[in-house]
Amino acid sequence: MSTIETRELNVYYGDEKVHALKNVEIKIEKNKVTALIGPSGCGKTTFLRSLNRLNELLGATTKGKVIIDGKDIYDGKEDVIQLRKRVGMVFQHPNPFPMSIYDNVAYGPRIHGVKKKELNGLVEESLRKAALWDEVKDRMQEIALKFSGGQQQRLCIARALAVNPEIILFDEPCSALDPVSTAKIEALLRELKHEYTIVIVTHNMQQAARVSDFTAFFLMGELIEFGETKELFERPRDKRTEDYITGRFG
């Protein structure tokens, strides 16, 4: 339930050889779904990962500000652990830990010292929110990797919810899933936005248009256009946006 604002955000890879994000300025509203679209390599993932500082893992250098709820997370004072607790993330390929369903969801809370007796309720609630409870409630001790891709992805969502984040980042969460699972995840996203601020990267423009309230179009590291999804898809202001969404690219 937080706003995100970036100011002159620049991200470089490999000793500033690759300039992956160029002066990105954006304001992401709370309790909305914001979609990031753009051609491959335009910096969507980079942007997403700069919001929870997971970029640092890949050796990225970040300049500029990312202000979450009024605090710049790159000011050196921000505790990255706390940050990542507040900003959850779901990845492109479902990546549950090779443990039981229960342990997967309980992983985060345990890390953060939640009491054992509260754990059961927390796990159930998270699974319910991720619309997975009914499918797994009798199979809590089975290893997560046995489940289908769509179920695994929802498990990853439940796992992210269990540490009670305010913002959730999704990096192409459906690209590895079949249409039916995709539909379920989309429905879930619409549910979740009532409680969370959601940012989602997607290659699928119909998906962006279906699930998001705001859309940002990136091109070669630049934020070309940002605005209400309906507006952006119906009346893009920039020619490049229009060419991209109407499939005339290149």
Binding site: Q82, K85, H112, L122, E125
Partner: protein, 301 residues
Amino acid sequence: MGVLERVRIFKFWKMGESIKERLIEKLLFLLSLSSILIVFFIIVFMLKEGLPAFALGGEFFFGMTWHPATNQFGILILVLCTFIVGIGALVLATIIGIPTAVFLAEFSPEWLRNIIKPCVEMLVGIPSVVIGFFGLMVLVIFIRDTFGGWGESILAGWIILAIMTLPHVISISEDAIRAVPKAYKEASLALGATHLQTVTRVILPNARSGILASLILGMGNAVGETMAVLMVIGNPEIPFIPESVLEPVRVLTSTIVIEAAYMIWGSTHQHALIALGVVLFVIVALLNAITTVMIRKGMVK
């Protein structure tokens, strides 16, 4: 208000965490530093101890006679014999090992593979003294009875070493063959290639670097192998250039074992033995380095 709400109020942050994190990192650093130091120390120490022998220069490296009693420390023949035994064993291991690896990875029915594979894995680590003992009791006698001579010979060394090298060659080659993406195989078969064509034209070329690596690694193992060789190759008092595979020889490792027992402390002999060890180490390390590089390259490509 759900459980999540209550958790939100819960104070996760414990002051100790970050200090603990840093302590653990420091501890791990210290431990890893000490193991690295040990490695360096061993290498440096051996180099330093061998120095007096290296100082002999050409006499050491190119001398043809190794005779401690007369203070002659020429290693050329030892090195030569080491390679004769090593390469011969490797050839044998290659002839048997590579087809076995291909068979295991591509052609073997599942049940047969389940038998062969564990056997190969077991063979890797069988204590060399046991194999040497077996060689001594069976092979040497067999060779003596069949071909004449002492029995303790290059040939016995080849066979024993081949047995010991074989599993390395098979395991690594098989891994390399298996690492070739299944997609290539399917693509080739779908184009109407036979299984064998697929293996020879797509799979083996792709596993090439891994297979070569297995051979070089096998070579390193053969060169560095001690007890089993020691027990079957005869070890004549004064090493000479063999003229037939039935003659006994002396290799670097066996020389060290045998002479370490009676070397005199601080003598040139001691330094020469250490220098032998260093030479052995350098040979094996070089071979391993080549392997590592090749495997890396194979993976990157």
